[in-house]
């Protein structure tokens, strides 16, 4: 009898182990073309020169809820060249959260600078009226906010630069791994050119191992904080970025017909925006992450660089490590491949949760063409931007990243 009970216990334990192994798909990393349970928009800007339109869709046939966070990484004193980023002018890293809910297959959208409000009167359908952008996010929003109300989406603070993160939840606010959300961000230039740049939100798929508390375990294995192991897919270990060689020319522009008596030139640059996978919204303690870059040019020559960031960073590649490694003077050619890895900085002081080292990037290129009229000594500069989702390898981060939702905002407590 005792032997039988022992055997049953053993088989039960084995079943639990099997379920744990089965619950985590092999090689599960971030996705940009599949529905997921956590959506991350690394580059969200509403600073007067650019604005952002967020689109989120529920791809399932059931109602879905999401708990969203804006993370404002603007400087404490923005737009003052006399006070650069530093100890006297640190990034804010403040978060604003809100909830949305979407019916089956429902898409929704909002303009980040305006948010989305439940209008005092039902917003008019675009069948009866035309969107007046000035009414976006107001109580008198017309066709611009037409649709089933997804919930109050607040506008962001002025001069906002940062990220948006949305976590799928159930009606009680507990995180769930339903994998029903997809999203896109459109960055719109407000200088009259209407230049647009668009990227897919980065998604982390959820697993059945979610214990529905306020500590979300991204990747990794079983631990005290993650008794059932990973609740969401891990962040990738290595990112691969293809980008133009900074300050090289745009070959299409260089070969385009140039007006008579004019000189035409071009230049390209690239901006990297990166956010950490670990975010402790409860303790407001962003980990310090080191980014290591190995840059390889067309001639198979490799160079290295590194930089450190906390919370959010948007940096032109030519501003990394003194601005030399990524430029034409060093690399030559027109295209480069950069492998980016992340690790914890030695100066990291976050102790509430052992921070992981995953990061999620978006890269945006800027192409500039200049036409100088030699007779009139005038010039016209044309600028266009284009965003891309980065590639990652198939290898996951092995350490767990944590997303900690403040107590009371969600989860079985």
């Amino acid at each position: 009898m005792r032997r039988q009970r022992g055997l049953v216990r053993l088989m039960g334990l084995a079943a639990l182990v099997g379920l744990w192994v089965a619950a985590k798909p092999a090689g599960a990393t971030s996705v940009t073309e599949q529905s997921a349970s956590i959506l991350m928009f690394p580059k969200v800007i509403a600073n007067g020169s650019r604005d952002t339109v967020i689109q989120i869709t529920n791809t399932s046939n059931n109602m879905r809820h999401a708990h969203c966070f804006y993370v404002n990484a603007a400087l404490t004193i923005p737009n003052d060249p006399n006070v650069p980023e530093g100890p006297s002018n640190p990034p804010l890293w403040t978060e604003t959260d809100f909830d949305i809910w979407l019916t089956k297959q429902q898409p929704t959208h909002w303009v980040v600078s305006r948010g989305r409000r439940d209008p005092a009167e039902e917003s008019q359908s675009c069948r009866q009226t035309v969107c007046d952008p000035d009414t976006s996010g107001t109580t008198v929003a017309n066709c611009c906010d037409s649709g089933l109300d997804p919930g109050f989406v607040p506008p962001v603070a002025p001069d906002f630069v940062g990220e948006l993160k949305c976590i799928e939840t159930d009606a009680s606010g507990a995180p769930v791994g339903g994998n029903a959300l997809k999203g896109e961000a459109t960055l719109v230039q407000l200088d009259g050119t209407s230049d647009v740049s668009k990227y897919n939100a980065i998604g982390l798929k959820g697993f059945d191992t979610n214990d529905r508390n306020n500590v979300l375990c991204v990747g990794g294995g079983v631990s005290d904080l993650c008794p059932f192991g990973a609740e969401y897919a891990a962040c990738p270990d290595t990112w691969i970025l293809d980008h133009p060689v900074i300050d090289s020319h745009d070959a299409v522009v260089e070969n385009a017909p140039c007006p008579a008596d004019s000189t035409c030139s071009s230049t390209v640059s690239a901006n990297l925006t990166v956010i950490p996978c670990t975010e402790d919204f409860e303790n407001q303690a962003p980990p310090a992450i080191v980014l290591q870059f190995v840059v390889t040019n067309e001639f198979e020559q490799s160079f290295s660089a590194s930089t450190t960031f906390q919370c959010w960073k948007s940096i032109d590649l030519n501003d990394i490590s003194g601005g030399i490694i990524f430029t034409e003077g060093t690399l030559g050619g027109t295209v480069a491949r950069t492998r980016m890895k992340s690790l914890l900085a030695a100066t990291n002081t976050s102790t509430a949760f052992p921070p992981g080292t995953g990061v999620l990037p978006v890269i945006e290129e800027t192409h500039t063409a200049t036409v100088t009229d030699n007779t009139k000594a005038t010039s016209v500069t044309l600028v266009t931007r284009s965003a891309q989702n980065a590639h990652s390898t198939f290898t996951d981060k092995t350490a767990t990243d944590f997303i900690v939702i403040p107590e009371g905002q969600g989860g079985d407590q």
Binding site: L7, L10, M11, A15, V17, G18, L19, A22, A23, E33, Q34, S35, D51, T59, T103, Q106, P107, H109, V111, R114, C126, P133, D134, S136, C143, C144, S146, G147, L148, K182, V188, L190, G192, S194, V196, K198, D242, D250, A251, N255, A256, P257, S262, T296, N297, E298, F299, E300, G333, T334, R337, H367, V371, T384, S386, A387, N389, H391, S392, F394
Partner: protein, 416 residues
């Protein structure tokens, strides 16, 4: 006693393995992971209108070179008969006068690329990339590493190890020798580019080391020919990851015995409805979206393109659903409101019909025709400024479609 314990542990292990093994891992096509096949759905060249496409291709392997067999697929239509016989009539069927008809075409031009470890390369579709010979130095259209050098004598240039024999012998350093990327066969050109990892014998091989991007650029610098403008729309090439090697010229995607990941059952597009006004204050642009679709199945040997009947389910922000369908054969680059025929203003993809600014469209391809096929694609969103006098500016952004599920039936790519 010991035997019982041993049996108990054996059963326990077997139970664990059985439960964990029951979970099937689905392999999905992705544009954010390296792959054995990379597909660029939109390659466009039109020198008259300042359009060109920059193709980027990278070998992500740190140690191993890679050989690639690529195919430009020309989807231009041409006039047959009449006084414009042979002229390109893509998007302009009325060009074919005097009894001519505008016939859709599909022809392939193939070439090979040899890439060294870690190497990125790029080229303009209008120019290609070739070895300019010893007389020319580095240039936009020249191979980065035209030849290698013999390891034992670095003053001796070589393309392969055989070039170092009999003296000094030894190996030749990796290079792009053997690469010749032609320009696209026509100007103007519209179509796709498909690149497949191969081994030294030219057989497709499972080597998930390729990644790519495309930049569709439109530039006009001369005010005498139109408004000065410059636009770049970039997207990630779609990667089809290899699962198993299978020598031969028929590549199987998905299905019961896949060699590569299978094409999705659904494509999902979040979009603004056509003629929607940009909701960003201070813009007042009009938005339109083009859908670019290419078939998963392609018989490049017999020049038979894949075909699918596409069912579109369109949801607006009121959760109201509309539907339509059309047939996609070989290539399609179509504005949403033109899907299903009819007038744009009356289309279910028009904002005045749909009633909200944005929507979700789910595309399900049902294979049909001589070569039933799934589909892959991208979307391009166009923002047109309000006219200043008679001048408008158009800026665009390309993005990858979302994919869901896996097709029951396999797709096949047959290469020459």
């Amino acid at each position: 006693m010991g035997q019982v314990r041993w049996a108990g542990w054996t059963m326990a292990i077997a139970t664990a393995l059985a439960i964990s093994g029951a979970q099937t891992v689905r392999a999905d096509i992705a544009s954010d992971k390296p792959a054995s096949i990379v597909i660029y759905p939109k390659v466009a060249v039109d020198s008259v209108n300042g359009v060109d496409t920059v193709i980027r291709l990278t070998n992500v392997n740190e140690a191993a070179p890679i050989q690639v067999h690529c195919f430009y697929l020309d989807a231009n239509s041409h006039c047959q008969g009449g006084d414009q016989d042979g002229m390109i009539c893509t998007g302009n069927p009325r060009l074919c006068t005097q009894g001519g008809t505008c016939q859709a075409g599909w022809s392939e031009t193939d070439f090979r690329i040899v890439m060294t470890p870690k190497q990125p390369i790029d080229w303009r579709a209008s120019q290609g990339l070739a070895d300019a010979g010893s007389a020319s130095g580095p240039g936009d259209d020249n191979l980065p590493i035209a030849s290698g050098v013999c390891v034992r004598n670095q003053f001796k240039r070589c393309g392969t190890d055989a070039d170092c024999s009999p003296f000094p012998g030894g190996a030749c350093t990796p290079s792009n020798a053997g690469t010749r990327i032609p320009p696209v066969p026509e100007d103007s050109f519209v179509g796709e580019l498909k690149c497949i990892a191969i081994d030294a014998n030219g057989d497709p091989v499972k080597q998930n080391d390729l990644k790519g991007e495309a930049l569709v650029e439109t530039v006009n610098l001369d005010p005498g020919t139109g408004p000065q403008d410059f636009d770049v729309a970039s997207y990630n090439a779609i990667g089809v990851q290899g699962i198993a090697d299978h020598p031969g010229n028929e590549l199987t995607l998905g299905g019961d015995n896949p060699e590569y990941n299978g094409c999705p059952n659904f494509l999902i597009l979040d979009h603004f409805f056509d003629d929607a006004i940009d909701p960003v204050p201070g813009t007042n642009d009009t938005i339109a979206t083009n859908l670019v679709l290419v078939p998963c199945s392609e018989d490049l040997l017999r020049q038979i393109p894949g075909q699918a009947t596409v069912q579109y389910l369109v949801y607006n922000e009121f959760e109201q659903r509309f539907s339509t369908s059309n047939t996609v054969k070989c290539f399609e680059d179509i504005q949403l409101c033109q899907i299903g025929g009819g007038q744009c203003k009356r289309s279910i993809f028009n904002v005045a019909v749909a009633g909200t600014l944005t929507g979700q469209t789910r595309l399900q391809p049902i294979g049909s025709g001589a070569l039933p096929s799934g589909l892959l694609g991208i979307a391009v969103e166009y923002h047109t400024t309000p006219p200043t006098g008679t001048t408008t500016f158009v800026r665009s952004a390309a993005f990858n479609l979302q994919m869901s599920g896996a097709r029951d039936n396999p797709d096949t790519i047959t290469i020459p």
